[in-house]
Symmetry: C2
Subunit: 236 residues, 2 copies
DNA sequence: CGAATGCTTGACGGTACTCAAAGATTGTGG
DNA sequence: CCACAATCTTTGAGTACCGTCAAGCATTCG
């Protein structure tokens, strides 16, 4: 049974729906850092909920340029998009060791049928995911380098914080500068230089794969990205 | 009753579900070009299905920079995102006269409850919308100016074509260069110059608010954006 | 006919990209 | 435990793409 349930970031569910999720679920899976959860060019016969760890969704152009679409944290539901659209979609890669709950794709419709409430929750998650991509699109399209980095750091920090991954002001940050560059649409070199300039302002700090935000307000202002009040999230 | 039903781009529905949609629906609405369908900073108490016309979703930064997130065509379902996340979301603006089917937001859950199949379809639409935003994010993050324009033109042309809006090779194209610039994340001036260079290659043609694609293969190759096989779409 | 809106062009500057190479860090095998 | 490889970070130099500014042109509308 999923140990995330006790987390206040998620909505509690009545026993009947917990049972339904249990029978929907087909197992668990662990993926090591750097390995693929979903291959970019082969639709997955399974859906997943992230149970622990960091992962990310991405797409690559035919010449290898990569764009990270969004980051995945505990509670995120993966693979919906493939259910509904043919052809190549996106890849999902683990950034740390990731543990996942696995659901067979062909039981998705029966789940909607028997537990409409869970169907509604899944729509909730799909809509939330889309809003995050919306934000990332604004970043890539309309923010400059400094703003992009500031936005991304706050965004990732807040998300991790929200699901209880903060420890004394630090959150695990398993990404290298290439990941950051691919997420915000900059080159590796320019990302490095921007990161460096930001660091000298003393608004944040990296250490051994962890991130600490020293001056959240300054970063929020710089990135023009402010935390929004968030309701508890459904957890499938 | 919605005249889009006969369109082969959409899946036919049994009478029972049509009735359910009818009772979900609260009316119709017409919005003139340039007017707001959904205000960017005020959550809408309604959901919409586009019945005819072009619209677009967008977000603006606090200093006025605007990013168009996606374009909306007949059959697109609007407003889901607001259902599920607090705070400011996105705006929706009509680009032509747009007609919409209106649904009260508070009947969304009852609809899922009584017609799980329609709930499933709504999730389908949400996932498809997200995939489109994914593609736009790749464009803004990883394509250069020429590629961005090529991709956008093919993308909009294909989408319009798909819902039967093509007439002798032309589709209505009610956007000015500022719209294009805001969609692909370039400045107005640079968008103009890029458009001009593309036009001289003779791959496409604009005339009086209509667009014709002369060499789709060349544009697809240029933009590294290829049509994917598409199933019929559910229509709510 | 004048105002408003949108398109086009040139000039110039700056942000960000590419290329290249030198540190720093981590991991691995002898 | 050290040597070496592999990966990642950092820096500099040079360039190109794209942004900003400014002004002229075209079209539409009242």
């Amino acid at each position: 049974m999923c140990g995330l349930r006790g987390n206040p970031a998620f909505t509690p569910l009545p026993a009947e729906q917990l049972d339904a999720i249990e029978s929907f679920r087909s197992g668990a899976r662990t993926v090591e850092a750097g390995q693929a959860v979903i291959d970019e060019f082969r639709p997955s016969p399974q859906l997943f909920t992230v149970y622990s760890g960091w992962a990310f969704r991405y797409k690559t152009l035919s010449d290898g340029r990569r764009q990270i679409l969004n980051f995945l944290l505990p509670g995120d539901f993966i693979g919906l998009q493939d259910e509904f659209v043919d052809g190549q979609s996106h890849g999902v890669e683990a950034a740390t060791t990731v543990t996942l709950c696995v659901f067979p794709r062909d039981k998705l419709w029966p789940l909607f049928h028997r537990q409409p409430r869970l169907g509604y929750d899944i729509t909730w998650l799909a809509a939330r995911e889309e809003k995050m991509v919306d934000d990332n699109l604004v970043t890539a399209g309309r923010r400059n380098a400094m703003e992009r980095v500031a936005m991304l750091l706050m965004y990732l920090y807040r998300r991790a914080q929200r699901v209880g991954m903060e420890r004394d002001g630090w959150v695990e940050f398993p990404f290298n500068q290439q990941h950051i560059a691919d997420a915000i649409g900059l080159s590796l070199v320019h990302t490095n230089k921007t990161l460096r300039r930001l660091q000298q302002l003393g608004l944040h700090e990296f250490d051994g794969g962890w991130l600490r935000i020293i001056d959240p307000k300054a970063l929020e202002t710089l990135g023009d990205y402010f935390e929004r009040p968030l309701r508890p999230t459904p957890l499938i």
